[in-house]
Amino acid sequence: MSHPVLEVRDLRKVYPVGVSDDCPDGEFTALHGESFTLAPGGSLAVVGESGSGKTTCARLIVGLERATSGVVLIDGVEQVRTRMGSARRRRRGRQVQIVFQDPYSSLDPRQRVRDCLAEVLTLHFDLDARARERRIDELLDQVGLDERQAGALPRALSGGQRQRVAIARALAAEPKILILDEAVAALDVSIQAQVLNVLADVRDASGVAYLFITHDLAVVQQLCDDVVVMHSGRIVERGTVASVLEQPVHPYTRRLLASVPRPGWTPRRRTPA
């Protein structure tokens, strides 16, 4: 295997919380020093439920929060945990991007789609006006948005269209890694399928690596090659998607798989009546 485009080593995040019955030491550990790697052009799913630490993990990697300990290496380079200067910040922006869950608040409500993409391109690249317009058209085309939608404000767009804009904005920086933080979870089923197809196409075309944060195992199966399963801030199982989904070893993974509704499924209760 070539060297990983992303390596997370012993990453740990502790939040101070008030001292209470549930939490006598006044600390909550969201992530217990976990490690994993993502190969260039790979697609790794981080699967877990609320409180598993999967979103904390994403926020640490993109630098929205600072780790308590441990390191994030992008392209083999350790990411600093201190405040970054503007050049460094932009460089990280070129390496890793993120798409969030909620399509309705992921875009500036006052900015038109085209302006949103232009702003990002201007930040990262030294393009003349014509080259920039051409690049914007390319990006819009890649995520399947038309000219009319490009000129629209977010409120005129549906959830699926907004999520396409968010993907295009992330791709505009030409990152090596795209983190998708529950990026299709809020979409209706028929729209979710469209966006999943767009994501598959984008990866084929650009070779960007995906870190796919999700609770949805069926979606993992569709989009990812490898998977780590998280529970209460710890990775409990890891492997290829095929092996983990077909022969889960850890009881939690089994439980998670068993609770996905599918044809012939009957829900079972685990607490006695």
């Binding site: 993109v62 630098g63 929205l64 503007s86 910040r89 932009r90 460089r91 990280r92 922006g93 070129r94 890793v96 991007q97 993120i98 969030f100 869950q101 909620d102 309705y104 608040s105 992921s106 875009l107 500036d108 409500p109 006052r110 900015q111 702003e119 990002v120 930040l123 990262h124 409120r155 005129a156 767009l157 549906s158 959830g159 968010a166 904005r169 992330a170 920086a173």
Partner: protein, 288 residues
């Protein structure tokens, strides 16, 4: 049962949007405010007389074609004094609101952005200023610096900062936590660029609403200060001052000067308030 599901495109009112509908009352209030503004700007052209010209032969004249609102104890045309008075009466609150809006926005946005201890410090400071009556501060300032528009305007500018900053801070914190801001941070934009280009424009409707309502209150405060003789000095016309100057005449049975000046203040303050509430309804979907 989510209301969102009934809408064709779920419209989430998390962010402040620009509405377009105004009700009739708001339109009237807006017209009155515009009228006052025009009066202030064009006072020398539209006023029939020099507001300070004393005419001993025409004291206490009732309304007539020569003097639409009559004359005061010195024979000065009341209408002309009201029109010219609009200048001092509106300029003061305008400066107060402008300064408070700029300072308030900077304070609110930086507190929201930095958060933590800085935010706590800012909030406590705002609370302290908020608790101190603006009028008292203005009177102290006038006592220290001396009477005139400068001292009370400076004092009120400070005491109006919390009115704007407190509301804006809450909204800014909400915006700060929205994913579109996080997405911009991840792109590599600096804090200043994000605030100036994205955060503040999204707070603008709220800022305008707060500023409009504050304008009315500032006008009232400054009129009160002039009424007390600590603001604009005679013989220059100013509404609060006119109410005060008219007092001795009331005893003599000539209530016009105080009445008209007082009414003007009431109409102006009410108009700014109504306009502010109308804007709130339209911009923020706020039905208070």
């Amino acid at each position: 049962m989510s209301v969102l599901q009934m809408a064709p495109e779920p419209e989430v009112r998390e962010t402040i949007g620009w509405g377009t509908r105004f009700d009739a009352l708001t339109v009237v209030a807006c017209a009155v405010v515009a009228l006052f503004t025009l009066a202030a700007v064009f006072a020398p052209i539209v006023a029939p007389y020099d507001p300070t010209q004393v005419d001993a032969s025409a004291v206490y004249q009732g309304p007539s074609t020569a003097h639409l609102l009559g004359t005061d104890d010195a024979g000065r045309d009341i209408l002309s004094r009201l029109l010219h008075g609009a200048r001092a009466s509106l300029l003061g609150p305008a400066i107060v609101v402008l300064v408070a809006a700029v300072v308030g926005t900077v304070v609110a946005v930086s507190a929201a952005w930095v958060g933590g201890r800085f935010d706590a410090l800012v909030s406590r400071t705002l609370d302290v200023i908020f608790a101190f009556p603006g009028l008292v501060l203005a009177i102290i300032a006038a006592a220290v610096i001396g009477p005139g528009l400068l001292a009370p305007v400076a004092a009120l500018s400070i005491s109006y900062v919390p009115y704007i900053a407190r509301v804006l801070r809450t909204a800014a914190i909400r915006q700060r936590n929205l994913p579109y801001i996080a997405a911009l941070e991840v792109q590599g934009f600096g804090a200043l660029a994000i605030c100036v280009r994205h955060l503040v424009p999204n707070l603008l409707p709220l800022l305008i609403v707060q500023a409009t309502v504050s304008f009315g209150y500032a006008l009232l405060d400054l009129s009160a200060i002039s009424f007390l003789g600590l603001g604009t000095q005679p013989p220059a016309p100013e509404w609060g001052l006119m109410v005060a100057n008219g007092q001795p005449s009331i005893i003599a049975g000539h209530i016009e000067q105080s009445l008209y000046a007082g009414l003007t203040i009431v109409v102006a303050v009410v108009s700014f308030n109504v306009l502010g509430q109308g804007l709130a309804k339209s911009f923020l979907g706020d039905d208070r």
